[in-house]
Symmetry: C2
């Protein structure tokens, strides 16, 4: 395989961080905007987000959750009211202080001192408090419950060190907020949202994840329980791809979310919140990308099949284009993975071979090239992006199916690619979780000797809290490690705690993380 000439200049094994940046630019997904900490989502990157959004939104609506939209600006008072949350957001927020610009007399513009706001407004770092205010207004009686709302929006958390998709000052996300009559129902909703995330991220994004509860120190401020889904990147680090919180009545008490029960008694609601963001796209890149660029799982690919006509500026081009159009129409009429197949006939100028590599770098699941000879033979030349190279020859693994067979087989082909990307990632993930480690020295040794691809370790612990937990967190931090979660579907504990030596009560995953 060493004689393969890959499409990127940086290989994952040589410099994973640099490779990540190169994928984003080579796949034409996004770029720096020139505005501090903010990125531009280009069509291919935004198109993937739109697909994720639509698939997630279908699941959200299916659960009876309703979308709303709340103001971009939040009064200072909302943050003052909930000091504990402000700590959580590190106070790094964009603050609007003026509502007008005027000329400074030197050809520039300045905020108009006459137009200073009496009270500054904060650009939402989350809409939690303002949605809480609304829920307090909307929840009067048990008849109003459960109240289940969601918002898709941009949010801003000022960041000094940014990384496209993973950490930017402005990012796109959804936040679900629900209010329930009792604890049981709110807990069920917390778990439903978590399971919805698991299903969407595994089935649609093809990212295998481990769902589980966060330890106390990693809980969202004000939450009684925080759950997450954790994905393993190709450098062995963990990426938290979504969280779901059971907030008890803490948040309801802060925001005044009350209801009158059937007996006429005023009670506080039990609330939940859950969120995912454009960060997931970073996870897609670091899970499915390879040394030739991105590989987009078919379900979230803006185009699943790209047709490239091989034209030669000759009269027969017209016939080739007509043949390509027939193939396009044939494929567009197929269904795969529950939707119409998304196919693009790319007629932009340029050589087919150069365009082929553009689409390989972008990671379109299937790329087909059609020249006049293919047309005469009633064939197409097809590449599946997830199996780009012939490992024996080191050459591109094209196949040359009959046109009609290819069209009728596209549904199965896309399903197969979706599954194979998932399976590949899952097998790699499973191969890189080390279990049965019982001594702390094994942990430090493991991360010393597995520098490039450390993976995760599962250990057992006694679930300490307070000062003991703080010490554990400190101990992990020295190795740049964090506790990811307590796997929901993991085995019971049967040993002793690796930190305290006490009898273990559960298993936890520890890892380096994004």
């Amino acid at each position: 395989m060493s004689n393969i000439r890959h499409a990127l200049t940086v290989k994952r094994e040589d410099d994973f961080a640099k490779w990540y940046q190169e994928v984003i630019s080579a796949a034409d997904m996004a770029e720096e905007s020139g505005v501090r900490g903010c990125m531009v989502f280009k069509p291919w990157g935004y198109g993937i987000w739109e697909r994720v959004q639509r698939l997630m939104d279908d699941r959200i609506k299916e659960a009876g959750v309703q979308n709303c939209y709340f103001p971009l600006f939040i009064p200072l008072a909302n943050f003052e009211r909930e000091a504990s949350h402000v700590d959580g957001f590190a106070k790094e927020m964009a603050v609007v202080t003026h509502h007008r610009l005027i000329a400074d007399g030197k050809g520039g513009l300045i905020p108009d001192p006459e137009a200073k706001l009496e009270e500054p407004l904060v650009v939402r770092p989350t809409s939690e408090t303002i949605i809480g205010d609304a829920m307090a207004r909307w929840t009067q009686s048990w008849r109003d419950l459960p109240l289940m709302i969601n918002q898709w929006a941009n949010v801003v958390r000022w960041e000094m060190r940014t990384r496209m998709f993973l950490r930017t000052s402005e990012f796109l996300w959804q936040e679900g907020h629900t209010a329930h009559a009792d604890k049981q129902e709110a807990l069920e909703e917390t778990h439903r949202a978590l399971e919805m995330y698991r299903a969407c991220v595994e089935e649609d994004l093809a990212l295998p994840v481990i769902a589980g509860e966060k330890p106390e120190n990693e809980r969202f401020p004000g939450a009684d329980e925080t759950w997450s889904i954790e994905a393993m990147m190709q450098d062995g680090k963990a990426l938290q791809a979504g969280t779901s919180h059971y907030l008890g009545t803490n948040f309801a008490k802060a925001a005044g979310i009350q209801y009158q029960d059937r007996e006429g008694t005023q009670k506080f609601c039990h609330t939940t919140s859950w969120g995912t963001s454009t960060r997931m796209i970073g996870g897609v890149i670091m899970t499915h990308g390879d040394d030739d660029g991105l590989r987009v799982p078919p379900r979230i690919a803006p185009f699943q099949v790209v047709i490239l006509p091989m034209l030669r500026d000759k009269p027969e081009d017209e016939a080739t284009l007509a043949y390509c159009e027939q193939v396009r129409a044939g494929i567009a009429a197929q269904f795969s993975l529950g939707e119409k197949v998304r196919v693009l006939l790319d007629k932009t100028p340029g050589k087919a071979s150069a365009k082929r590599w553009d689409w390989v770098r972008k990671g379109a699941p299937v790329v087909i090239e059609i020249g006049s000879r293919d047309m005469e033979n009633g064939k197409v030349a097809a590449i599946r992006r997830d199996k780009l190279w012939n490992p024996e020859t080191g050459k591109l693994a094209n196949s040359f199916p009959q046109r009609d067979e290819f069209i009728s087989g596209i549904s199965d082909l896309l399903e197969d690619i979706q599954n194979s990307l998932y399976t590949e990632a899952r097998d790699r993930r499973d191969a890189n979780i080390t279990r049965g480690v019982t001594e702390w020295s094994e942990v430090t040794e493991f991360y010393k000797s597995n520098g490039k691809y450390p993976g995760w370790i599962e250990v057992q612990w006694s679930k300490p809290s307070g000062a003991v937990l703080e010490k554990v967190v400190e101990q992990l931090k020295e190795e740049k490690l964090t506790i990811r979660n307590v796997p929901r579907d993991g085995d019971d504990a049967d040993g002793t705690c690796i930190f305290t030596g006490e009898p273990a009560v559960e298993r936890i995953l520890i890892a380096r993380a994004y």
Copy 2:
């Protein structure tokens, strides 16, 4: 009809502005947020916007335009560069000056003086300049053209007097921006976008509009041509529902959008931009609303059919619910207007009759009630919202179709409602455009004597410019009138100008407007 007891407390004819507010609250579409100038989109209002967005987005994508996402914040320098645009936006913009909050020592929070931005950032009032910067980067060669991008986003223009959906400081919109090699292609795109808007607004929102070119004084700053679609509200005022601009090379020169043509010469692109916003929802309310609330055209209704089970806290409730679920599943399996029918079985607590009125006020196109007697007879009780009352009896115009016939007829029924809402609005609009007015005194007299429902007047003019046009605009302004547009599909001129007495060159529509 006078003995009908309508569901709203305010009638259109008594106080249109107050009626408008009542529809919004009675239909549970939106509410004030407590944040100056910003509104909360509640599920029904946001659901309608989501429908509009999806239908418009399908049309945008169909034209080969690609969605992107650009930063919320725009550097001051972008506005300084284009002083003419700043005038256009009245400089009323939200300005971010700090990136951190700190405690003020008195239990409050203040912007941290240590975290003052070196250069303030503006919350986008439009993304025009930042998209221009990107287009300048992305357009190098004729091969990169046409470049056609669109953004769905929130924007902020500080407003002192706000009105929900029509004028709010923050609103939601889409802005399309395209760059072309030559004038001809850019003009074609300007007209394509206009026609796309016309089609979407007429076919999906059922708002009849008149597409035409704006006069010079109403042009977007920097545009060579500005086109609009204008809808007539039930108070006879005009609402501009979308605009499309041909910007010549003006914008390309300001932003440096150049390309190398096939001969290797550097040229400026010809650009266009076009936009629509949540304002359209205000147009839907003021066009289709009646004294019982909103009437949502089926294509943009989040739910097209709502089923209300009539339960009596008795054992037979279970059978009634099962029957309702059969009806729901039957309807959900139908297609209408090119999509699966969106049906809700509303099982929330409460009396069916109270819930019926909630859905009437919300304007769900079809509401059906099912009780145990209906079940025994294999029937349903159906209301179509666009024909709510029996004009002879003054009672609700329910019908009692057989279940299976109702289910198989739902597709036609929804199509019929969509068409009938459009036809009703178009007939009203057409009846309220007065043509053949040749004297200015007739205009002033007309608006004096038609106070409640002034409608529009079509007149002929000589298309003056400069100082003469300014005088015309002033003359109109005294009567609170504006020129809406020069209808694209109107008749040629054949008379004299009502303002200058010179030979007329075209016909214009004048009206009071939102």
